[in-house]
Symmetry: D2
Subunit: 441 residues, 4 copies
């Protein structure tokens, strides 16, 4: 008799959940969930209720025998689950808003996952994720933790360094890149393969193939000097042709923050004046979405959800679970422990690379290019060093590690600014940073 | 019969030469030079004549049997020399002035060896040094090339990567640090030992001992929040206590450019208004020096030379030659091929580390601290990647490598600025950058 | 219009060819060969004629539009081929016989691919393969060289170190192991996956799964103390239970030569008395086969071919070509350049590991076990060092490298024996070792 | 006021002690011992008494203010000692005799430190040394443990892996090699320097210099084909010229066991017939020595001690202590944690290499030859893997690790023999191997 297939979604009250439900419904034949647990914290009771009710309607409409449970008891949800996914936001959108605004005070980029904003998010998020891991270790040690919570690479690294939980970090950027490349080249996405190398939100598409024929050069030509080649939540400033040719690979959208720092900052400051931070925008979208979700006749994912960002999120997540469940051995780009795949980075850090997915998880593939060129390597190494320090700061409440993390980050690069920003982060997040309680003023 | 000991000084007409002569005179017993060749280019004929005449007077006064030769024939000077030293300045102080000013146009630090200024200097200098190496390979293949020409680390790397010449890169910073530490701790310098790790002008004193007892913590305490702990040519802005403790090691003076970028830039902009660039200052000092040198009664190093910067330069140079010549096996901090000593950097790059000096040159010692912490490692790796790209740009006239070198440098960090600065550098140095002739507009 | 698919088989007159033809016929739908060239040397004219005629009858019977060419002009065969395969035997079975007998004179194991015998074969084979590579570089630089010629790992390493040819080394051991494991576990082979680590003919099956569930322990239990778990050409001496448990992985059959050296030697010496060497046996089988092949009514692979050894050889070969041709991205275990996948071995050596096969060739997968345990690592390292030295000896006629290769080989382990065996090898193979002409007595 | 300088000698009743005392007396000016503790176990009471009394007479004769203490209380001896040295022999010469005889039963080399004999010795010794380390950690955490107890490399590795004690492993082979080389070249030893690379009792002198001029080739020529170039306790079989040239470095005497396995075995078997094992010889020498030591008028090291083997032992030991005590920064060849100095070996193993000795201990120097050639590397790697497994077996009583250690050792190389030898070792050493109590039959 087949063992029951149980999935637990931590942060189940998220506005993203309907997308995930849609994914589960579409792929039910391959991935026959028996029990789906949506868990949330008390503060999210209303949202969970709303989203859960919509999920029930969606499943009913599909006529599938998926049992849906809503709960505030995390251990109950995790117990015997095959997969645990996290889509939590510690401190909710207010915290994100602060993460985006604090750096801007000092003329630094304010972004949810990158730079000082991502640092703050990591400090808040990692302790909660490690708590979840403790539960998994105790009540479902064989479960896979599929982590979508940003900063996904840093969080994955904390989990692999400090717990025994089998984990894979997942981002929608790789699948989004593949979709974008397919569109650019005018071919169906099923014919496109890409190789990515780097770490979460700091990676390069090193090669592109269409039906096995390399097309990297064509894509580099296409993306030079045009708009429309960025992901939703990153300003769409075009790459300069000469520069992109000197990179020789396709930088991910987040690399605009590094390569076009000044223009990106300018854009953020303008936006702050005119429409507020991205958090402010998202808040509005979320309100609208929850208003829609409450409609008792709604029984499908509303199209407005697409404005939310996180496109292909559900696809990436369900793909991953399906491939593990079915021992598929297809290739997906996910965040895992390095173990020598990127030889320029330490063995115990997280990297985002092409992996074969099977019943044991994700096994990285050797890069087709034997060694990353110095310009990729250098940037990767310094940002990874920042990430390692951030993990230490988040796990141990290590002020000195945090200070150095911010100081060496290429988007900060100054001990003075680091100190001020860090101080504001600690003060603005008091309730979410118990590990730093002794440093608050 | 002892083989004649011959030394060739390339750039012999430099204002530094009297200091070197003084060093040779003081250490004659240990390092009995038979023939000293001062070589220069035609454009430096007058200076060579002046400096050479002073050198002759100094040697005569000392009553030593050193034969002094002045020549414009480099190969004649190098032939059968045991040591070749370089103290050249391609493009002279005018070029330095440009190196310091161009970056400031774009709000970037303008410095002779660091950032965009150091990049420009490397592009001008490396082809000339490789030419010298060709001569050495042909007419004195067993000679040691002791390179003092900045950026010394990058130049040394170019030589080890592209020639067969035995080379050691030398800087006065390590010996200066030791002197400074002795002064701080109020002990004689002979009792002080330090361990340094890093690359030229980007290194950290990882440990300090007095008579074998570690005193690193004491020094960290002393340097926090005080002035007077920087080398001559770097603004003396004090380290913030909390920050320096989080570094945990003693940063070299040049690290102020990285850790206190904004304050350092502000200072440079002020100075530019009030007293011009450092090149402008040095020009005046040089004029004064050469006026003094012309005095036919002067037969010693004039004390004014000390204002010139480059303190301990002669000491460092003569120490190194003496230890090689006498197979001394003492420890000096010099620039050599890495070969795994700093495991976070590639094997074939140059590093500045503690070495045992003997008749075969410099052999690095393993670091007492097994692995550099992430905050040191990250910064070191990204700057080294910049250096590797700079070597490629300088040797091959590779525009794309140069573009990427500047883009990832922590003091630039922007593709746009990189492009503009690079363009100004190429235009401002046309006559000195034949390797880039096809890129000039 | 589809480009013509051309395959060149070097050593086409081999008795194995009918098996390969059968494979091509079976997989024609997926791998539609247009032109198949069988090439051989003049000395093999008769065999080529016989085998070629049989191949023609087989293709005709299958009714497929494959053009078969027989030629002695290697470059004509290689020109524009998509795949070149090699199944050559330099010096033919007489040489193999010598390889097996010479070591036995000194109480050393005599084996075609392992120890001194494999060393001799490598010396004879590598120069010929490098010649073939020169042709490929000139007339078909995009062709894949699929090398089946033993010692396959050493030959592959010589090709990757000394040519630009895209090459993959192939052995039937991995596929044979999978078949054997399936049989042991009583499941269909399609449900079995294995992970192998090591180098050709010295590898361990680190993990076994059936439908994604790990079964390594079960297999270890099964193979302890029983017969029937060795490949055809290796004496079937059973593994001792306690020992196999301490290995913790499944050793390949060739590891019997290392782990049970004395028993294996004893067996060889007995066999030598009673039935001669394996070469002698094979000679008889070959004679029988060619007699059969000459039957003008034979139009299929005769079942007697299976006695020949090399089971699954055709399957392995055609699988590999089909996966490359169709960009399949399935996993096969082949010999490729290491590049860090086995971190205990140098980057530039060949290893035999799980790879994803696609249109660009074979990309290794990270091992599921992060690091090989010391008992695996140590043996692997010393035998790989032997292989590296053998490549140098074979390519450069380097006597000293050869001497050291034999001395450190675990099956020789003595400078005295190494010297004697090497001398006999050089004397016995004079005509096939031009690179050692100056060492012969 | 100077802190008292205390030294504890564990195994103080050894026949070697007078040599050590002589060394302390000779070097008193540089190394002014205040308190010298000779410690032994109850079973060695008589020997300790005899040796201690001789030591007192020697010190009195020298007229030095060294306080000599004899004790059976190890912690008292260790407390506040600056240096702890070990010269213990667990199981005494009877155990050594077994170690030498057991392997010979199976046609394997029987040697105290190498192969199965060294393995047995490691199993007996490591638990005792780790016990001593526990004492050091508790009562003298800053003490240096200078370990002379064989197998010195394996013991040092166990200490660095499983304790926090600062340790250096010491052997008289490097100093003996230097002496021998000086004699061969007819120069004073003070003019000779050597570079050694490898692990204890398996190393190669990679380079030899006289007054800074390389003489490696000369030494290779000299040692070819002559007798008289082995250490005392290893049969003096001459190196074959062609072979030694192909090594390209000077193998240590113990490498005869690897390179001339058969001849060495033959010699051992002969000796066993005629004069017994080396342990038997040593027993007689020891008896003679202790008879001499009892002479109440003897107040110097008797010359007969030189027959004992272990020449230069005292010199090596006192050199090391003196250099640490005086922060000398001279170069000595000792056993330390690898940490990347031999890049072909793991970081956490022990290696025997050139080190700078100062107040903090031993800091390895980078090899002058960047990478060890494959024939050195391969042998080193497999024997190191054996050593790593032996440490695990010794510390944890891990039978499987022990089984594999013996199997892969180049002087055993067979699972069958490994099993039998291991069984005999366990049975013959029951009382000394508590960690294996569950495996004894």
């Amino acid at each position: 008799m087949r063992k029951k297939l149980k999935v637990a979604v931590i942060g189940g009250g998220s506005s993203y959940t309907p997308e995930l439900i849609e994914g589960f419904i579409k792929r039910y034949q391959e991935f026959p969930i028996d029990e789906l647990y949506l868990v949330d914290i008390e503060a999210g009771r209303e949202k969970l209720k709303t989203v859960g009710a919509l999920a029930v309607r969606m499943i009913e409409k599909a006529g599938l025998p998926i049992e849906l449970h809503m709960t505030f008891d995390r251990r109950e949800a995790i117990k015997d689950a095959a997969f645990v996914t996290t889509q939590i936001r510690v401190g909710m959108l207010d915290a994100r808003s602060r993460d985006e605004k604090i750096p801007l005070r000092y003329g630094l980029l304010g972004q949810e996952t990158t730079g000082a904003g991502g640092f703050a998010k990591a400090l808040r998020t990692i302790p909660v994720i490690l708590d979840i891991c403790k539960d998994i270790e105790e009540v479902s040690p064989h479960a896979f933790l599929l982590n979508f919570t940003n900063p996904a690479g840093i969080v994955t690294e904390a989990v692999t360094k400090y717990t025994k939980v089998k984990t894979i970090g997942l981002c929608n950027l790789p699948i989004g890149t593949k979709m974008l490349v397919a569109k650019m080249l005018g071919v169906d996405v099923s014919k496109v393969e890409i190789e990515m190398a780097g770490i979460n939100h700091l990676n390069w598409t090193t090669k592109v193939w269409v039906e096995g024929i390399e097309k990297t050069g064509e894509v580099l030509d296409i993306i030079s000097g045009v708009k429309g080649v960025s992901v939703k939540n990153i300003p769409d400033i075009e790459w300069e042709r000469e520069f992109i040719q000197s990179v020789g690979m396709i930088p991910c959208s987040y690399l605009r923050y590094y390569y076009m720092k000044d223009k990106m900052l300018e854009k953020q400051l303008q936006d702050l004046e005119t429409k507020g931070t991205r958090a402010d925008e998202v808040k509005k979208v979320e309100e609208e979405l929850f208003a829609l979700y409450q409609d008792p006749f709604l029984n499908r994912k509303p199209p407005q959800l697409e404005k939310r960002g996180g496109a292909y999120y559900s696809e990436a997540a369900v793909n991953l679970m399906t491939s593990i469940y079915n021992n598929k051995k297809d290739i997906q780009i996910v965040n895992v422990k390095n173990n020598g795949i990127l030889s320029c980075l330490p063995d115990d850090v997280s990297v985002e690379v092409n992996c074969v997915i099977d019943s044991e998880g994700a096994t990285p593939l050797q890069l087709k290019t034997a060694a990353l060129p110095p310009h990729i390597r250098g940037l990767l190494q310094v940002v990874k060093a920042y990430e390692e320090l951030t993990v230490e700061a988040a796990v141990h409440g290590d002020y000195q590690a945090g200070m150095q993390a911010l100081t060496i980050h290429p988007l900060i690069g100054s001990a003075e600014l680091a100190k001020r920003v860090f101080s504001d982060i600690l003060n603005g997040n008091k309730e979410f940073l118990p590990q730093f309680s002794r440093y608050k003023d």
